[in-house]
């Protein structure tokens, strides 16, 4: 079964928290001998954009799951939206999450992507999004194979399990 199993991820979000699911699951899949393809579309292009990948962020505004318990304050106290809009709050929340990841020995996104590429994952950028954002292949990290259309993606993922993130 695992010999032929294929999995494809569609990454459509560019926030730090939404970059990790495909990286973690993709890495697990590769470790288990499963073929992995990742298609980056819309804001997800930030994950493979070499000027953006080290600057992915998470905003505390309207994030109902980000509680002060992450900072060791017990209970369900959230970060009030009115506080979240203050300058520096997004940077603060981002640093908090990066520190938590680092403590768990989770590599930064750029390094994680390289691990996946080295392990055989195939990365593609969505043509429509690339055109919309005025990007070209030179803007992407090494390992992005090509800029492809949605139709190409459908062709190359025949028989694969597809996960949309």
């Amino acid at each position: 079964m695992s010999e032929e199993r294929k999995i494809a991820f569609i990454c459509s979000k560019g926030t730090l928290d939404m970059a990790y699911p495909a990286l973690v699951m993709g890495w697990a899949a590769l470790g288990n001998g499963i073929d992995v393809t990742i298609f980056f579309t819309f804001w997800g292009l930030d994950i493979i954009n070499k000027h953006r990948v080290d600057h992915l962020e998470i905003a505390p505004v309207a994030n109902t799951s980000m509680k002060m318990s992450m900072m060791g304050i017990p209970g369900n106290l959230g970060i009030p939206n009115i506080v979240g809009v203050l300058p520096g709050m997004t940077a603060f929340a981002t640093k908090l999450m990066k520190d938590k990841m680092k403590a768990l020995e989770v590599p930064p996104v750029r390094e994680y992507l390289q691990m996946l590429v080295d392990a055989g994952a195939k990365l593609y950028a969505c043509k429509m999004s690339v055109d919309m954002m005025g990007l070209s292949k030179d803007d992407f990290v090494e390992g992005v194979l090509d800029i492809v259309t949605a139709g190409d993606f459908m062709d190359m993922t025949e028989g694969a399990q597809i996960v949309f993130i």
């Binding site: 695992s2 973690v24 890495w27 470790g31 288990n32 001998g33 590599p107 390289q114 080295d118 392990a119």
Partner: protein, 105 residues
């Protein structure tokens, strides 16, 4: 849990084929399991990784994750996947006589 004879030695394995007692492991067993996993010969590079896993499990009690293997041995991700093709996570752990690696990275 079933008893299985590998390289002339009877050992306990679980339903996934992983040895349950790392102390029953021998180098001959590793060679046999590697063959089952499609690796005909264990080279010095293979042993470097297997020995690291044995050592890591000896201190932590857990099979190391792939990233712990690459950072611990200096073997690159590319080489690790070339040495143990098609799913190194389980293959390395099985050959080293350990359980499935615990941890996601």
């Amino acid at each position: 849990m079933v008893a299985k004879t590998i390289a002339g030695k009877t050992v306990e394995v679980n339903e996934d084929g992983f040895m349950t007692n790392p102390n029953e492991w021998t180098e001959e067993i590793a060679v046999e399991i590697a063959k089952e996993e499609g690796i005909p010969e264990l080279t010095a590079e293979h042993w470097k990784i297997i020995n690291f896993c044995r050592q890591a499990a000896g201190t932590s009690g857990k099979a190391p994750t792939l990233r712990q293997i690459t950072t611990g041995t200096g073997v690159s991700t590319k080489d690790l996947f070339a040495l143990f093709p098609k799913g190194p996570a389980k293959k390395v752990a099985r050959i080293a006589g350990l359980g499935k690696p615990e941890g996601c990275v």
